[in-house]
């Protein structure tokens, strides 16, 4: 543990996030070149270097034993260091403080989820870090992009002066998964038909349809869907657009107006990087900051209007955000239409448009002419069948249901989770940690064989804390004020499984 990070902690600093490239700065004296991003940005270089040095050392050491998967986490007395190898040799490190007074209890996988999310969103908008480094070997492009992107992303976690990372209170949530709206077959067919007509007005583009903050349909593969879904719920859905936050949320929302003042002054710090050229400042200001808040607004025609400075993205100069497909490096315009609760996200392939961004106007007109009316009709059907923000609440249960195969999860609405006792959630957090470790073990043993696991814990306050993993599906549950017998707990799970999971978690013995 570096002395500097200890010092930072004593300053009331609870969080450090670092991105570095193992291949860079190999020569003595150039170590700073490794660092692509460091938060907090005003952290002394010495501290930065000491963290990177420690992590690099640990990685190099653990690779000797486990070349495929190096270090995952360092648990120190006062800090946790969570490792994530975002791209080969590009590491992201998150350091969080274990503070005793307010009982901050983290779960390592949940923290890694944050790193994964910010990286995959970054990749979606700006291509991979490798690609940016290849473009400008000096690293200035990657640094400036990472700087604006990650700071914007972190602003969502800002709670007053503090950074609030996902804690045990969020253990009935799963980052990086999609929450879906359950629709009847008839409506599903209606939606599918709508997708066809959307695709026909934009040369067979991919699309995503959300209702409120839930996914209705997608034509994208699961990982792209999950990324875009996160972005939508962060910035695009009616809920995300309206600054007022309701009690209901499947994802965390900004708890207060984000304090961007310190972010905008960060440029100066960043420019201290050694390879920073004189043009750095102008360069930064021209980077479209897709994660910045309040950059989208609803236009009169129903399309969301992006308000980003036009900037160079890849080889394109444009003001409409583009995203990059994970599979093939295709650049696509992000085109968003919204009517009441429904949000339609179209990914219009840049190559399919004859005259670039101007072609988008044509696509939009076609959409308004042929599809908008059907969107309205589908919206009506969806809102008629919509049970409200507590639609998926099951009384008596506090649950989280994850389908890993489809990257889909469903959980008790956040508002209902808050009724749980703190102890129950801490237990659940601990249990999830154990399950994460067990799953990791299974995966190392045999990645193709899926196993089953069931744990029921009698916690304080007459609570049952249950985890059940069955071949790709996971169920976590807290039953408070519950009968003391194990039979009661298993019965409750059985009932829930039959009623809401089509028997996926039913007892088989």
């Amino acid at each position: 543990m570096g002395v500097s990070s200890m010092a930072a902690a004593s300053d009331g600093m609870q969080l450090q996030l670092c991105v570095f490239d193992l291949r860079r700065g190999q020569q003595e004296g150039q170590e700073l070149d490794k660092i692509l991003f460091f938060y907090p940005t005003d952290c002394p270089f010495l501290t930065q270097l000491s963290l990177v040095g420690l992590c690099e050392g640990i990685i190099t050491f653990t690779r000797i034993f486990s070349p495929e998967a190096a270090c995952e986490v360092i648990e120190a007395e006062k800090h946790s260091h969570v490792f994530y190898e975002a791209e080969p040799d590009i590491w992201m490190i998150l350091v969080v403080e274990k503070s005793k007074d307010d009982g901050q209890v983290w779960r390592c996988e949940a923290l890694r989820g944050v790193l994964k999310e910010v990286h995959s969103l970054f990749k979606m908008f700006h291509m991979s870090i490798h690609a940016l480094l290849d473009k400008k070997p000096s690293g200035e492009l990657a640094r400036s992009h990472l700087h604006s992107f990650i700071t914007d992303y972190l602003s969502d976690f800002q709670l007053g002066k503090r950074m609030q990372m996902p804690s045990f209170r969020d253990s009935l949530k799963e980052r990086g998964t999609v929450q879906m709206l359950t629709v009847s077959r008839e409506v599903a067919l209606e939606v599918q038909s709508l997708i066809t007509s959307i695709s026909s007005c934009c040369n067979g583009c991919d699309s995503l349809i959300l209702f409120q903050d839930l996914l209705v349909s997608t034509t994208l593969p699961p990982d792209d869907t999950a990324n875009l879904f996160s972005y939508c719920t962060l910035r695009l859905t009616p809920h995300a657009l309206s600054s007022s936050t309701s009690s209901w949320s499947y994802l965390r929302k900004g708890h207060s107006t984000p304090n961007l003042s310190n972010l905008t002054t960060l440029d100066e710090h960043q420019s201290r990087s050694r390879d920073t050229s004189q043009g750095q400042n102008s360069q930064i200001s021209s980077i479209p900051r897709f994660l910045q808040r309040d950059k989208w607004s609803k236009g009169k025609d129903g399309f969301l209007v992006p308000n980003f400075p036009s900037g160079e993205v890849g080889s394109f100069v444009l003001s409409t955000p583009v995203v990059w497909n994970q599979q093939n490096d295709n650049c696509k315009y992000l085109c968003v239409y919204q009517h009441k609760g429904i949000t339609v996200v179209m990914l219009v392939s840049a190559t399919s448009l004859a005259n670039g961004e101007q072609g988008l106007v044509q696509v939009k007109n076609q959409f308004l002419e042929n599809v908008a009316q059907r969107v309205t009709a589908v919206e009506q059907k969806l809102s008629r069948g919509w049970g409200g923000e507590n639609a998926y609440h099951v009384s008596g249960y506090r649950y989280l249901l994850i389908d890993r195969d489809r990257s889909v999860s469903r959980a008790t609405p956040a508002g209902k989770v808050t009724t749980l006792k703190k102890e129950s959630l801490v237990y659940l957090n601990k249990l999830r940690e154990e399950v994460d470790i067990e799953k990791g073990r299974w995966h190392r043993d045999n990645p193709h064989q899926e196993k089953e696991l069931e744990v029921s814990i009698r916690a304080e306050n007459n609570a049952w804390v249950i985890a059940k993993v069955i071949r790709g599906k996971e169920l976590y549950m807290v039953l408070e004020k519950a009968n003391e017998t194990l039979l009661y707990a298993t019965d409750a799970v059985e009932k829930f499984s039959n009623r809401y999971c089509e028997g996926a978690f039913s007892m088989e013995y």
């Binding site: 067919l189 066809t196 067979g204 034509t219 489809r406 088989e508």
Partner: protein, 693 residues
């Protein structure tokens, strides 16, 4: 019966309607006129003392005329009773003679010579009376007693009548009165509902000048029965249009008008399509009132004469050809009489032609495919041919990759038609019924009430569209229309009306299964490349079908899965399965399991489906295949699956190289399968176990 393909020699000429060669020949010498008894579908031709009758709709070669003695005397009008036990003959404007066919006894009913004239009469199957006599002073409802050969007056209704129009098809009697003959009283004499009296109504006439008051002629009023609804088309000669009225039980509602391009207009209905013959212009216009649209189906085109197919009448084909070539110039000649609903009587030559529609030509003439399908689905004349045509059109639609919105509308039409067909109890909503009017009485009005609301009960028409006749009279208005038939020369009578024989038992409606086999499966073979278009098409079909709550055969889902898997759209498979667009079934589940070779997640979808469908045996088998033998064992015990061989569990346990597990499996079967210890497996694995330990 492929009339439309007949007469290929003329197929180059554009036409949507044609008359079919050979005609019925009624030109036997010494006959005095030709009458059409639409109640019995008989062509009647009186001679000096007898009447010859031909049943219409029977192939002419095997249809020698019957004859009945009717005695001497003039015949102004003649009709057989509906049970054919008696013949009524109007002898003069004051006398109708009734003749019992068995006994030959006759008696006459006469009216007061100076006060009234008999305008006509008809037999009816309404329960309260047998015959209705229309006089200038009103109508008389009479009961006929064949035993006594006598009449009893049931009721008389007094009103002044100028002329009347009646068709047996509609059972509607319209009585014209007033100075301009525009005030109408209407009665319907139906077997089911008895006598229904319509409210009095007035037809509108455009005035040419301020003072002139045109008088409406009976020629210009046509009762039209389509889709079991009754309409009246009134030709307004000054306004040059036809007013369309629809009859409801308690109202007569004007529907608008359709234009006329000729000073003489005749109306026919063929297969529920209204044909408006513009006699001067020698063209015919087609209207389909199914969706209450008064727009013509297609452009005005001439009526053609088409030869018969060779097989139909080999012996007369030569004669037919000569007639057809000679007859071509006679189309819409002045001596044509248009009989209700679809016959043309050439009085001069003693020929009766049947009008047919060329549905292929109609369907080829429009680019609006959904409307064409809608039109075709309403046709009843040749279900097999029309169904084949609809299937072919749908296939072409898909193969041409027309916009999905068009496909969606086409699917809606086809599915709605099929669901209509199902709802009407496996009978097409509008039945074409050749012989028996009563059997399907009112079957066609189910859809009526929805359109008209509950207040207006629609008048029920007999859904007969067999041959019946209202002959527009060329003589005075007072004369019974049937007297207007001119004398025709004696010739043999032939029937070309044969198509209606084939119309029973099949329907034009396309079932989901047929849709799959004759459309999707066929186009799949022909379509190459990206299957996403075809998937979208199928989704549209499923959407229509789900709206109508139709059951699907799993085949269509298997095909969808196949298409999705071929293009690696595994996300879509997962989505479609999870939101039940692809409905769960054993076939689908096993297919998904099979796809697992490429994608294990898809295999799991299939397994989940097996479990949800409680196909325990298959679920356990698949678990075993994947090596989840402990899970399989637990599941088997819980659901009491005893059909899976213990050997399979043992093999799977063996493969895992885990002696502990193998022993557990052994123990399980020893405990729960009593006969297990006696099997060879037991001994074998016992040995394996001992070697391992």
């Amino acid at each position: 019966m492929m009339q439309t393909r007949a007469g290929s020699s003329r197929s180059d000429a554009l036409s949507h309607a044609y008359i079919q060669n050979p005609p019925i020949r009624c030109n036997i010498p010494e006959t005095r006129g030709l009458f059409y008894d639409d109640g019995n579908k008989l062509l009647l031709s009186p001679t000096a003392d007898q009447v010859l009758s031909w049943k219409v709709g029977v192939p002419s070669q095997h249809n020698p005329p019957n004859s009945d003695l009717i005695g001497e005397g003039p015949v102004l009008s003649i009709r057989y009773s509906l049970d054919q036990k008696a013949i009524a003959i109007q002898r003069s404007i004051h006398e109708v003679e009734f003749r019992n066919r068995e006994t030959g006894l006759t008696f006459s009913r006469k009216c007061k010579q100076d006060l009234e004239r008999i305008l006509g009469f008809f037999w009816t199957d309404c329960p309260t009376c047998d015959i209705v006599l229309i006089k200038t002073s009103g109508i008389e409802l009479l009961l006929y007693d064949p035993e006594q050969n006598s009449l009893h007056v049931v009721e008389t209704k007094k009103l002044s009548v100028n002329w009347y129009v009646y068709t047996h098809e509609s059972r509607m009697l319209l009585l014209a009165s007033g100075m301009q003959c525009t005030v109408f009283s209407g009665y319907q004499f139906s077997a089911a509902a008895g006598i229904v009296r319509l409210p009095k109504f007035e037809m509108s006439m455009t005035k040419s000048e301020a003072n002139s008051k045109p008088v409406l002629s009976s020629d210009d009023v046509h009762i039209v029965t389509v889709y079991g609804r009754i309409y009246c088309l009134q030709f307004d000669r000054v306004g040059m249009h036809l007013n369309v009225y629809r009859f409801y039980r308690d109202a007569v509602v004007e529907q608008g008008n359709i234009p006329a391009y000729s000073s003489r207009v005749a109306i026919s209905t063929v297969d529920n399509v209204i044909l408006s013959h513009q006699l001067d212009a020698k063209v015919v216009m087609l209207y389909d009132l199914f969706l209450d649209s008064l727009n013509p189906i297609s452009a005005p085109l001439p009526l053609l004469l088409k030869g018969s197919s060779g097989s139909n009448s080999r012996s007369t084909s030569e004669v037919s050809d000569s007639i057809s070539s000679a007859y071509e110039g006679m189309i819409y000649s002045d001596n044509w009489n248009f009989l209700v609903p679809d016959l043309i009587c050439d009085v001069e030559n003693g020929l009766v032609w049947k009008i047919c529609l060329d549905v292929e030509a109609i369907s080829a003439s429009s680019s609006d495919v959904p409307s064409i399908l809608q039109f075709l689905q309403c046709r009843r004349s040749d279900p097999a041919m029309i169904k084949a045509l609809c299937l072919a059109i749908t296939r072409t639609l898909i193969l041409e990759r027309r916009p999905i919105s068009v496909i969606a509308r086409a699917m809606d039409v086809l599915v709605a038609s099929y669901s209509n067909f199902l709802r009407s109890g496996s009978t097409p909503p509008v039945t074409q019924n050749t012989g028996n009017d009563q059997s399907t009485d009112g079957s066609g009005v189910a859809s009526e009430h929805a359109i008209t609301g509950t207040a207006n009960k629609s008048i029920i028409a007999d859904s007969s569209s067999g041959v019946s006749m209202h002959s527009p009279s060329s003589s005075d208005d007072e004369v019974n229309p049937e007297e207007s038939e001119k004398q025709v020369r004696d010739k043999s009578l032939q029937s070309s009306v044969s198509q209606q024989m084939a119309s029973h038992g099949s329907s034009v409606a396309i079932s989901p299964d047929e849709m799959y086999r004759f459309v999707f499966a066929l186009v799949e073979d022909e379509m190459s490349g990206d299957p996403s278009y075809l998937i979208s098409v199928i989704v549209e079909f499923l959407r229509s079908a789900s709206r109508e709550k139709l059951k699907m055969n799993p085949d269509i889902y298997l095909m969808m899965n196949q298409l999705l898997a071929r293009s690696n759209q595994h996300t879509d498979i997962a989505l479609f399965v999870s939101n039940k667009i692809i409905e769960p079934s054993k076939e689908v589940a096993m297919q998904l399991v099979g796809f697992g070779q490429q994608n294990y997640k898809i295999r799991k979808l299939g397994m989940d489906m097996l479990r949800q469908l409680s196909l325990h045996h298959d679920y356990v088998s698949v678990l075993l295949q994947d090596g989840y033998y402990l899970e399989a064992l637990r599941y088997a015990r819980k659901h009491k699956v005893i059909t899976v061989q213990p050997a399979l569990f043992l093999e799977a346990a063996m493969a895992s190289n885990n002696a502990l597990h193998l022993a557990a499996v052994m123990r399980f079967f020893s405990d729960f399968a009593p006969s297990f210890k006696t099997t060879l497996d037991y001994g074998r694995y016992q040995q394996v176990l001992s070697e391992l330990s």
